[in-house]
Symmetry: C2
Amino acid sequence: MYPLISIIGVKGIGEVRKGEKLGFLINDALNKQGIKMMNNDIIVVTSKVVSKAENMLISLNTVTPSKFATNISKMLKKDPRFVEAILNESKRIVRISNTVIITQTKHGYICANSGIDQSNIKKDHIALLPVNPDRSATQISAQIKSKTGQNVAVIISDTFGRPWRHGQVQFAIGIAGILPTIDYRGKNDRYGNELKVTEIAIVDEIASAAELVLGKLNDCPAALIRGFKYNFEAGFAKSLVRSSREDLFK
Amino acid sequence: MYPLISIIGVKGIGEVRKGEKLGFLINDALNKQGIKMMNNDIIVVTSKVVSKAENMLISLNTVTPSKFATNISKMLKKDPRFVEAILNESKRIVRISNTVIITQTKHGYICANSGIDQSNIKKDHIALLPVNPDRSATQISAQIKSKTGQNVAVIISDTFGRPWRHGQVQFAIGIAGILPTIDYRGKNDRYGNELKVTEIAIVDEIASAAELVLGKLNDCPAALIRGFKYNFEAGFAKSLVRSSREDLFK
């Protein structure tokens, strides 16, 4: 038999409100699609709905911009309150140019605008990234376990740009129940050569795979991945962050 | 009905020999699995088998290292002939450190060792990347069309590291029959906000999705992606390369 993976869009979750348990919402929505979760399924969910459930939306009216934020907002032609929020969520500015600020977020992720987003939420509001996405993923996985009895890994995804290449892709910013990488170190191929590839960031690839059903405009904030073989065990997306010192690609 | 994508591993292709037509080999292998290709299927194939079909394997015995290659090979503890080949395939050295050389290949891709690989080939041989992967993908797509009458996009994938994050993922280095990105510019969400995300590098995400069945050690060099909606039209992976001048993430 050949390898077969299914990626299933989870529809009908509707507007997520603060305090709601995403694990329950996703399970209910899948059940309405006639699908029961199974051991070793994987759920990918966008950070946006996690931020909504965790009350990470704030009104720009509650943000008071600093002088620095006001200064750079003029150059960027952005709302100074939005710039203030970006700075608040960052621990380092990587670059400011044209209409974008690239920062390193408090979690360590390098992305535009500290991952703060204004799409798919109310006007004049912004969505911050979850405070601890690995913990968020763990909670969603536990909610699924409590409802279904099944061990289901969870990946929280966000859309980031990349150096050197146009376009953005999905990355895993929080995970639970799966190791972030597959380690091939020391393994040999059938010719006896040691493999060049040592570690595959499989959770980033699964987040990208989910994009094939998620899209941006079709009210589908989660995907079920079925058929991928992995061990259900604790893993953390934050361990994917490379320290600046060990980064050869700079 | 909910969105559903299938990722199917193509098994039984066996050892690919120079001059063989991968479009035919993949179609035959899928037929043996009981699968007929359909319009708007997508085939992802690893660069390694494309390199084999296009005779891009060379024996290290045919490579004469320069003085420069010999010098840096000592630091890297690598075969000087391998280093010479890396330099030959590059147009720029991004960084040399420890055991790795990061270069920009002649195509423009930034990766370790100019994408040259020693795994899954004969000992003392190396596999160079295809000279023109977009052209290779176009040929494979045309071969599939000639055998099946179906319009099938083709993505040639390779495994690269990324700045800031541990682990490697699949990227699209050559494509045919599909645009490299999905353009959301000017689109609004249901709240009337313009979308933050402007362009999704969907072919990189499809290449990553294929990894879920490809792996590195299971003799599965191609995957069929079925159910993803796209327009069959000409696209080029090389257009994903960002010029150094416009790269904000440096």
